[in-house]
């Protein structure tokens, strides 16, 4: 079960039997648009508040994920999820709608893989037979909570990142058709003293590097064992730093493709997203929408998704605290390929 120091090995091979992704207009104009289940043309989605819109995204993603898994709400046993809002309200309210036992988790933008790791652990241990892992974010709720009200129109430096509007959900079960969750490496907090919330990629990069290296040590693998290693939302600045750090530490990343969900979801040169995408939904919609389809088709045999999170609060950075960061890695592979 436990392998090395920080890695959970899922020997019973839990399966992702259904996923769904719902996104907003900017993501719908990006290069991965064809891979999403539902694209909203408006940011407000006819809701009275941004928070209601964010909640709607997650509820729709949960419903669609269950539908794609050919499962009813009654068959769902547990729900694990989190988001960026204070007291993770989007997930709590979506859980109220779902009406199943619920574990709220907070990992900021690493929540996608944190919740998937926990869901897989539940299924692997036999503590549940159908677990939904979900997360969501909305550009305007994040702006409002962490930066300035959207109407204020404050300037942003080019190192800033653009919070994704969307939600991703995955149903994990002991058996079925779909990609297999092979193992997960739980990250530890890394804080190298960055205080600028407009440069989160740089703050999170060392956490991603720490988790990738720990994963490779725990599993005795090299990067070449993966067709793709993808970070969550480091964007232009952070992903460059992560690649440099890995090179300096002698990790042979040239054996594989090393990408970032925050750079894949948008056309960074054309869309006005500063350094790239971020937010809980960033790694969730790219993984559940785009990457798992590639794993399922066999285009990618095994991938390592390293979702990164900046665990700051609006209060902590206003008080001048540094940004504690984390990264959780989950290895997902095509079923039946490696046994």
């Amino acid at each position: 079960m436990q392998r090395g120091k920080q890695t959970w090995w899922f020997e019973n091979r839990p399966v992702i039997v259904g996923t769904a992704t719902v996104v907003g207009p900017d993501e719908g104009e990006g290069p991965l648009a064809a891979d999403f289940d539902l694209i909203h043309p408006e940011l407000d989605m006819q809701q009275k508040s941004w928070e209601k819109a964010e909640r709607l995204l997650l509820e729709q993603a949960s419903d669609l994920a269950l539908k794609n898994a050919s499962m009813t709400k009654e068959q769902l046993e547990f729900f694990v999820g989190g988001d960026l809002m204070n007291q993770i309200i989007s997930n709590t309210f979506a859980a109220r709608t779902l009406g199943v036992p619920y574990l709220g988790v907070f990992g900021a933008c690493s929540t996608s893989m944190e919740s998937l790791a926990i869901a897989s652990l539940i299924v692997n241990s036999g503590a549940g037979k159908s677990v939904l892992a979900g997360t969501c974010s909305h550009n305007c709720t994040a702006e409002k909570q962490f930066r300035y009200p959207t109407e204020y129109g404050s300037q942003k430096p080019p190192t800033a990142q653009y919070t994704i509007t969307g939600a991703g959900a995955a149903v994990v079960a002991p058996a079925g058709i779909g990609p297999v969750v092979e193992c997960a490496t739980i990250g530890r907090i890394v804080d190298l003293g960055i205080t600028d919330p407009f440069n989160m990629g740089a703050a999170m990069a060392p956490a991603a590097v720490d988790t990738i290296q720990m994963h490779l040590t725990d599993t005795g693998r090299s990067p070449g064992d993966y067709d793709l290693i993808v970070t969550g939302d480091l964007a232009t600045v952070g992903h460059g730093i992560a690649a440099d750090l890995l090179k300096r530490n002698g990790v042979p990343m040239e054996q594989t493709q090393f990408k970032d969900c925050g750079l894949m979801i948008y056309d960074v040169d054309k869309q006005k997203v500063q350094a790239g995408g971020s937010g809980c939904a960033c790694s969730a919609v790219v993984t559940y929408g785009h990457l798992l389809k590639r794993v399922q088709s066999g285009e990618l045999k095994r991938i390592l998704v390293v979702a990164t999170g900046a665990l700051l609060s609006p209060l902590s950075f206003q008080q001048g605290e540094t940004i504690p960061c984390i990264a959780h890695a989950v290895s997902i592979e095509q079923s039946g390929v490696y046994a």
């Binding site: 407000d44 409002k144 300035y148 009200p149 959207t150 109407e151 204020y152 300037q155």
Partner: protein, 116 residues
Amino acid sequence: MIYLWAFLIGGAICVIGQLMFDVGKLTPAHTMATLVVIGAVVDGLGWYEPMIKFAGAGVTVPITSFGNSLVHGALTELHDTGWIGVISGIFKVTSAGISAAIIFSFLAALVVRPKG
């Protein structure tokens, strides 16, 4: 010629604000408040009026002008009516700007609902 100076001096004030924002990592609110205080201090030293004569709108349009107006009103009223004027004069020059902000905010609030 005054147009050129207005452009250069006004632009220079904005460059200072942008540097405070980008290099000094100050928040927009801190940047604005600091510029207002600088304008107030400069007028207290008696240097703002000569700058207006020299660069016109280049120094009356940026936010530093608000600090200038606050101090200027207080000093003028101090001169005209005595010490109580320091209190009553602060908003004398700025009253048009402040009233306009209140009235237009009120009118905007009648027709639109911010989502934050």
